[in-house]
Symmetry: C2
């Protein structure tokens, strides 16, 4: 196949580039975004590598959707309003079928998050996808990791451990019923970044992070940045019916506490705040350090990138 980089980019991605904040999209040396008055730019980058962050037999449509969601999740965790993204795509060969399916997944994410694709680069090499997201924040507000205070309550959105349960299923470690397997795979393949929730709790939450490396690891980042302890009640962790169908207590707990890839938000609110819709109170902030569960855990906290 002899399609040039430019042909590829234009064929599959150029229709995804328009948006309210976009002055100039794909096709020049830079894209140009316009912030509103009294806004700042929030930005983050995430790379996913085939065989490391997703299985080699994953559908390209899911790879595209998921790569965007993983990156957008960081905008959600800051409370930022999505403005646009770029995708740097390294792939072994210019495969029309693969690119078409991948771009479908990207297009679904563009639509879901209102996040136009404003630029990118395609290169040849091992399959690696780097998504840079750009969002807007008010001048004086942001959801940081560093604001949790003793007396605050700890919350998570959605349910925990589903993606880890899906990976365990894919690896043959357990066999959920078909309906549960389908739910769990959907949670791994098609995570939804909590963008609306992040904007909802902006200005109210005292700290926030997205759970990409597992609850213990990510709650630990809030504890470290805030100089406090997060005390988490294991029995309060929200589990999906699908994950609850696993009868091995230890596995369920391990997936919920240390499984990554759920892309839910963990955040702290002043004690008198009610849980936002779809969120569960899982503990409290106290003086001290680290994350305390009262459990004698025999597994590693969090995904190690090396």
């Amino acid at each position: 196949m002899a399609a040039s980089e430019f042909t590829l980019i234009y064929r599959y991605f150029s229709a995804l580039g328009s948006g309210e904040a976009v002055d100039l999209s794909v096709g020049d040396d830079c894209a140009i975004l316009r912030l509103q008055k009294d806004e700042r730019l929030a930005t983050s980058v995430d790379t996913v590598v085939e065989g490391v962050h997703f299985p080699e037999d994953m559908f390209p449509e899911d790879i595209g959707y998921r790569a965007v969601s993983v990156a957008v999740s960081d905008l959600a965790a800051m409370g930022a309003r999505p403005l646009g993204m770029t995708i740097a795509l390294t792939l072994p060969k210019a495969d029309e079928f693969w690119l078409n399916a991948f771009s479908q997944g990207v297009a679904q994410a563009v639509s879901k998050y209102g996040l136009p694709l404003i630029g990118g680069d395609t290169t040849r090499g091992a399959l690696t996808i780097t998504v840079q997201v750009l969002g807007a924040l008010p001048l004086e507000r942001a959801l940081l990791r560093s604001g949790a205070r003793p007396g605050d309550a700890v919350f998570v959105s959605g349910t925990l451990g589903d993606a880890a349960g899906a990976l365990a299923f894919l690896n043959g470690q357990w066999q959920p019923a078909p309906v549960h397997a389908e739910f769990l795979l959907q949670r791994f393949n098609r995570p939804d970044a909590r963008v609306a929730l992040g904007q909802e709790i902006l200005g109210v939450a005292t700290s926030a992070i997205d759970i990409s490396d597992g609850l213990l690891a990510d709650a630990g980042h809030i504890a470290a940045a805030s100089g406090v302890q997060l005390r988490i009640e294991p029995e309060a962790l929200p589990l999906s019916p699908a994950l609850s169908s696993c009868l091995d207590n230890n596995s369920r707990l391990r997936w919920a506490l240390s499984g990554g890839d759920d892309y839910e938000l963990c955040f702290t609110l002043p004690a008198d705040c009610a849980a936002p819709d779809g969120c569960t109170r899982i503990g409290d902030v106290t003086e001290g350090e680290g994350v305390y569960t009262g459990l004698d855990l025999d597994f590693e906290a969090g995904y190690q990138h090396f």
Copy 2:
């Protein structure tokens, strides 16, 4: 080696993150940049892959410096003021020596371009470096590819073909004298993005692009975007003494016309404008399409990414 992602990032890169526009740097879910009043954001992403965009035996210090320069060159080509960058680094293993040297090269580029490193991601895989650059533009101005008009003159900065001459030397295709070889290798390993020039010609130049894929290919992008023809005089192309020391006319011409990786700027100015310092007039804009050299070229115009 068991250093975690977080340890690695903080050890090598966290000192490079402060800058005038940086409200929040490495260490939270997003970085936060503050634009000045009446500014817009310009952004671009570039990936370099080992064995594709740079040789496998390149010094990690040069890899770091060059990866940043390649990306910054797109800010230069828009006339943007550098604000910050993120680096997504995929590497096979967490090698302390490699990371230390790589970070030295990145630090030199941070200093050279006044471009703080405000975020990043490190992942495991084949060596791949994606640099996203963020810059500021005035609300109503940008150097686009699309503004060249018949009667304008065509200019390039610096000298052309040096990086291609260096690669030909590395591949054993010719043997320059040591002093010339050193110059050419420096040009390939340590390209300097023309950031000051881009800002100087912003508001004056009618179009601009950086020469990453070769003059013919990149001038062709200006021609296509502007709906004009660029007529280039081959004898006017600025060649370095090092490249001129090659006695093979055809090779010299091929390197200067179709060699990529020089990261000089090609731009058009109204006919009555003088050449900016360090720039050479190489031709004119006329009605028509494409790039005309008057030569019967027997080589491909521009780097094909697949």
